[in-house]
Each structure stands twice: as C-alpha cells, then as structure tokens.
Symmetry: C2
C-alpha cells in the first residue's frame, strides 16, 4: 500500500530545493508515518529528503523503511553519511540490515564505522539466525550493585538516549554476572529513599535465556511472564544483551507466518508476498509441489498395482478421492493440533502416550461418524444389479473408519517423531502428512475391498 498523500508536496520541495520544509516534514510526524509517506519516492529522492533531518530523526525514520529499500539505499546513496546513520542504529537492527547488503558495500561501511560499533556488529553477526543471540540488542542499561536509587536515576536520565529501553535496568556484579533487575517503576516509587542501594530493591528471581536458545522459546517465556524485556546470558550467566518486547512481537509474527506457510506447503518467504518475485515464489512452492507430486506418483503406482479390483468392481473408483481425502484431512487436523501444541509448549514429548490415546479415540469417533455417512451414501452409489455378496455396502464405511484412524495416528506421530529427532515439527506440514496418508489409504481400501468382496 503506497500512501501518496504528500507525494506532490515532497516532489515540489525537492524541485525547489526547499531545505527548511524538508527538514520540517521529517520531524513533524511519528517516524513510522513519515516513512509511510515517503514510500512513493524513488530511493534517490527519499534519501535527498531524509538527508535534511538531524541524525537522530534519520535513524528513527530509516528504521521504519522496508527492509529491501533500506538495503537499496545503503547500496546506492552516500556511503559516508550512511555509515554514520548505521552506526546509530540499534545493534540488532544493524545486524539485520548489514547482513542483507552486498559484500563490498558491507566492507566499505564497516570501515567507515567507529571501531566499537564495528566490533559489536562482528560479534552479534556470529549468532546463527533463529537464536536469542541473533535477536538481542547490546544497548541496554547495565548497572553495578553498589549504586543508590538516586545514582541509578541520574545514570538513566543521562544515558537514556543510548539504551533501547530504560524501563528495565539490569544489575550486574564486577564480572557482568546477572544479579537482579530494577524497573523504572520501582525506582520511581523508591524516590522517597534516594540513598537506598538498588541491590536492596532489585528483583532477584529473574528469568533469563541462553544466547543459543531458540527464538521461539524466548518468545514463549516473554509471553508467559508479560515481560518488557528478557536478559540474554552466556553459560556463566554473564549478561550479553537483552531482547525487548517489540523484537519478541517481530519474532512471533515471523514464526507465525513461517508456520502458516509451511502448513500450506510453501517454503517460508524472506519478504512480503508482493515483494517476492514470481520466480522466487514459484521456486518456494515448486520444491514442495514436486515432493508432493512424488507422493502422488507413489499413490498412482499403488493404484496401478491393484488395477484388477478396480476393473472388476468399477463402482469402487468414484470413492477413491473420498477415501483418500478423509484420511488426508483427519491427518492434517491431527498434525495441526500437535504442531501448535508443541510450539506453544502445551505438550511435550513425555505426553506421547496421552496424545496417542486421545488421537486413537478421536480417530474412532470421527471415523465412525464418516463411516455412517458413507454407509448412507453407498445406497446412492453401489449398483444393485450385480451379485456382490452381502458385504458390498460395508466396503466404503469400513475403509473410512480405518483410514481416519490411520490418519489421526500418523498425523500425530510424525510431528512427535520430528520433535524427538530434534527437527522442527512444523516441517511435517499438513500436505506432507496428507501425502503419506493417501498412500496408506489406497492400500487399506484395496485390502478391505478384496477381503469383503471375494468369496472365501
């Protein structure tokens, strides 16, 4: 969505070189809104306007520009000015940005950056994507235990600009070991005793995450505890950084989108739908479609191998999709339930017996229900002009019952097995489960038909 409301004015300012108006435009609105209004400009124009703002405003607005445009601007506009801007970005945003740019541009920008920010980037960029280390920021308030309430207050009002949040202050010993947390709220309510030590008012039962923890687990912790930020520590419990609520929201959104895409058999996108090229999209869909095509080919093989029963009893053919989809759908349902429950921490591997038993029960109930509906449908379909034996109308219902049970069990076992193997259970996407259950469905259908229809 491109907001074109201010485009004519912006272009007019650029044409007449009205520096003052451009500077005013940059600061008048919320930076996110300013960024929205500039979406329609070219990269050159955008940077020309933004260059009129002070560096703090530049940083604010820039951080709301779409990721792929940030990279384009970095690669095409004034390198010296941009290096200054990048140095002021929050450390986690800086890593995200620089990891996207061309290598030669990266080298050039790093070289122009102050040594401290450069080192910080090199350290942070080592953490693998998807871990706490890759999401954390290093700009946080870290105070020694020996400060008083007044000193802590002075410290944060002085350093406020440098910290991502001043609302949580982490208290450390001389070797940076995490000792406690004082919130700005606690500081404010302790103002009546300004000489009290912060070590006396700090919370000591702190939830922290390891730098190597999965970002999804971090999000679960923050969500459970209603935290503003969570500290990230090394194995010796030294604080390396913090992850703030807005980053947690981004992580959750990212994970939810990835899960949704996986469950629809699309490889997760790096950009939005419209930003991703048709060829990338085709590739990310094509690989999964090919895998599923392979499953379907196996089903076709299975069907061909059992050509005979379907030629003898041609009335079985129309029910093939019915049998297959009932198994596939109940399998997808189970997989969806188990994958979400695992990722939310509502079940663990230890619950596998309970899960299996529940899925078995549901399989019997659901399969029984479909079998009943199938039995009724059979009166419409099964020809009565052939000597089929007494069990003909039972073939489809019995198959449905067995296929649905097979679906619920397969759909719940596979994600648990993936979890056990340390793989992402969400990889076991719905169409994947459905593909496997399809083949089993055909085998069950043929077996049941041959048993019930062939006279002994």
């Amino acid at each position: 969505m491109v907001n074109t409301l201010f485009l004519p004015e912006l272009r007019e300012m650029l044409a007449t070189g009205n520096d003052q108006e451009m500077a005013e435009f940059c600061t008048a609105l919320h930076p996110a809104r300013t960024a929205d209004f500039m979406v329609g400009l070219t990269n050159d124009e955008l940077w020309q306007v933004l260059a009129h703002a002070d560096i703090a405003t530049q940083v604010d607005v820039f951080s709301y520009i779409e990721h792929h445009r940030q990279i384009e601007i970095l690669e095409t506009q004034d390198r010296e000015q941009l290096a200054r801007l990048v140095a002021q970005l929050s450390p986690d945003d800086r890593v995200d940005l620089l990891q996207g740019v061309d290598e030669s541009v990266l080298a050039d920008i790093l070289q122009r950056m102050p040594v401290e920010e450069r080192r910080d980037f090199l350290r942070l960029s080592q953490y693998p994507e998807g871990t706490a280390g890759a999401v954390m920021t290093t700009d946080f308030a870290k105070l020694p235990e020996t400060l008083t309430v007044r000193q802590a207050m002075e410290e944060i009002s002085r350093q406020s600009e440098d910290y991502e949040t001043i609302y949580y202050l982490y208290i450390v010993d001389e070797e940076d070991h995490l000792r406690g947390l004082v919130s700005a709220r606690q500081l404010l309510t302790s103002m009546r005793n300004p000489e009290r030590l912060i070590s006396e008012i700090m919370e000591t039962d702190l939830i922290a995450v390891r730098v190597t923890d999965d970002q999804e687990d971090v999000a679960n912790s923050v969500a459970r505890m209603d935290l503003l930020a969570i500290p990230v520590v090394d194995p010796e419990r030294r604080v390396l950084g913090i992850i703030t609520h807005d980053d947690v929201i981004d992580v959750m959104r990212e994970e939810a989108t990835e899960d949704a895409h996986r469950s629809g058999a699309v490889d997760p996108l790096d950009e939005t739908y419209l930003q991703t090229s048709v060829f990338t999209l085709t590739w990310k869909r094509g690989i999964w479609l090919a895998v599923l095509f392979f499953f379907a080919l196996m089903t076709a093989f299975a069907l061909q191998r059992f050509e005979e029963p379907f030629e003898t009893w041609a009335w079985l053919v129309p029910f093939i999709p019915l049998v297959i989809s009932s198994g596939g759908n109940s399998g997808s349902q189970s997989a969806t339930l188990i994958i979400t429950a695992l990722s939310r921490g509502h079940i663990t591997l230890k619950d596998y017996r309970k899960v299996m038993l529940r899925e078995l029960k549901m399989g019997l109930l659901l399969g029984g229900g479909l079998a009943l509906m199938g039995f009724l449908a059979c009166f419409l379909f099964v020809p009565t002009d052939q000597p089929l034996g007494p069990y003909a109308t039972l073939v489809v219902p019995l198959t449905l019952l067995l296929v649905v049970v097979c679906g619920t069990l397969t759909g719940s076992v596979l994600p648990l097995v993936f979890e056990k193997l340390g793989w992402d259970p969400a990889m076991m996407s719905n169409p994947f489960v459905a593909g496997i259950v399809d083949i089993l469905g055909i085998l069950i259908y043929v077996t049941v038909a041959v048993r019930l229809l062939n006279p002994v």
Copy 2:
C-alpha cells in the same frame, strides 16, 4: 507439564499448618514461577497456600494460574476473599475471568465488589470479543495538559500501583479528548527543567485505535510502531483505555493459533489441546470433516457421472489422486499466501489485479513443471498395447497444467472474495480450497481425456 519440585514441601507445610513458610513461599519467587510450582496442588490446597500471602501477591500469582483453574477456584473457594482479589485484578483480566464463571457465582462476586470495579466490569464486558474494547484495560495514567514535569513525576510515583503501565502517560483535555503522550523516558530526560509544562514536551502525532477495531488490526499497529501501549478511543477521540504490549502478544498468539487451526480444518479451541475434552475436539474436527466429506461426495458424484471414460481407458484411474492432489496442493499454497498477506496487511483488496496476474503466472510455471514431470511419468504408466491415438501421453500433462492454474486462481480468488464480503478470509481454509479444486480437477480431467482420446 506439571512442576513437582516443591510439591512435597508444600503438602508438608499444609499438613503442619506452617503459616509463615507458606507466606514466604508465595513471595520468594517470581509470581509466574510460584504459580508453576502450585500446578500439582488441588484447588483447595492451592487456595489454602495462596490465602497466606498479602493481597498484592495473591493477585500477582493468581493472574498466572491457568484460566480454567482460576474459574474452578472462583466457583469453589471463599467468595468474600475472592471478591477482594477479583477487585484488584487488572480490568481486562477481570473481564476475561468473570465471563467464564457460572452466572450465580458471577452475581455473587459482583455484589461483593466495590461499586467502581463493578461498573467498570459491566462497561468493559459489553465490548464484543475480538475488538479493541474487549482487550483494553482502564487502569492507565491519564493526566491533564496543565501539569508540569515535576507534577507529572509526582503523580506517577504516587499512583504507580494503580496503573498497568507508568511508562506511557496519556495527556487529555478537560473532556478526556486525547491530546498527546509523554513517555517516562521523556519525563526523566526533562527533569532538568522540572517546571516545564508537559504539554510542551508531549508527542502529538499519536496512533490510536477505535474501541470497535478488530484486535488483529490493533496488533498490526503496535507491531509496526514498536509501541509499549496503544490508546483506545471513542469516535470523538476520547480515551477509553489502553492496550499494553503483553496483551498484544497474547492477541497475536491467540490469532496465530486460531489461524493455524483453521488452516488445518479444526475449529479454533478455547483451551489448550490437553485441556480440551476428546468430545469437544471431536466436535470441532467433525463439523469440518463432515463439510469436506460432502465436497468429496460431490467429487464421487462427478466421477460416477463420467464412469464411461474411466471404464474405457482404465489406465486413467491411477492418475485420479495425482490430478486431484496437484490442484488441491497448489490451491492450498495460494490460499495460504493470500490469507497471510491479507492478515499482515501486506496486500489489500485493491491489489487484486496484481495478485491474480502473479497467481496466473505461477500457475503456468508450476503447472508447466508438473506437466513435464507428468509427461515423463506417463511413459511408465500409459499402456502401449492399445490403439490410443497420438495424444494419449498428453492427457495427464495437459490436465496437470490446467488443474494447477485452476488451483492457484481459485486459491487466491476465494480469500479475496471473503475479504470483500467482510468475512474472515482465514475461514477459507486450505482443505476447503482443496475440496473445491478437487471437483474442478475431475471435470478438467474428464474433459481433456474425452477431447484428446476420442477421434473426432
């Protein structure tokens, strides 16, 4: 997951009536952890232990207890004490809780609650679920424009306990119209000029949401703007409440889980997987399985109607699942992509032409790829001992191409149509799309076969 670490000690304390130890247990840890350690207790035991804490701790720990247990406790334990506790809960949590309890219990508790909290509950509980009004809290800092920085500071350190967050202070005129926002960070950095008016330092370009807005849109705004909280206003822009970052995280999690369930053809659960009874689960799955069964029956009808081609050319039969699943899978992919892009605000209805064109291109590319693979597979399957005419090996490939294009177009059009009609596009779940595309797939398959195999 039940944490049993402290269970023996807790039971010992209860048996010996060790009041002091129980009081200490309640306050020693982070309230979320205290709640975790009490999961293994019965409701009676839990409430006995918790009754030893001061009211503030009771409220903290209680708010981390699972929703269904909170309700059980409310319905079975001392009504007078609980009414006191409920009165202290944050207004949004209170509404969530009380809406779950039995009507007679609700009436009893309301009657015991202070009049102000009772009115607050009655007002908040009127907002329909899923709207901003239903998620907001009314405990927020609302200050007049006329205060100075010092006065504002004093106000929040005095009132700190009563507000859900003291980090965002909303500035209003005499009639509660939203005028601006001052963050605690701004107050702290303005401490050098304590006599300055807050109206001079406040932000005035504020993002607010309407009380009737969808909670998903609220989450999108907060995520986009990296906000700690967002104000909720009426049509005259009077502030009614705020929604804080932790509630936004809850909303996002809830929506992500609902979307996941819908895309797996499960009606969204109100509780976690293990907390939901097998019968409720069976019902929530069964209704969708029945709908999908109906689609599959239509496919069976279609197949029966075209019995003849499949009897004449029996080698077409094994490909039925291949054709159907290729269409269904590509349709699911498109539906997934469009539904996520719509819910994230990455596309709007206006983009429909662009979306259709992209899906058409992808359909042709993906369908072309599958057609090629299908063409190769046909050499393995299509019998050579029959006079089938020159086009026999083209039936399956051509069908695949058409079916996949049909899948991508159907999968993208349906969610857009739902959005246009004002329904939730996520209702158009993957299996639903697949069910519709299945029927179309059979029709395409039969048409192509008849055209290519019957001599003119």
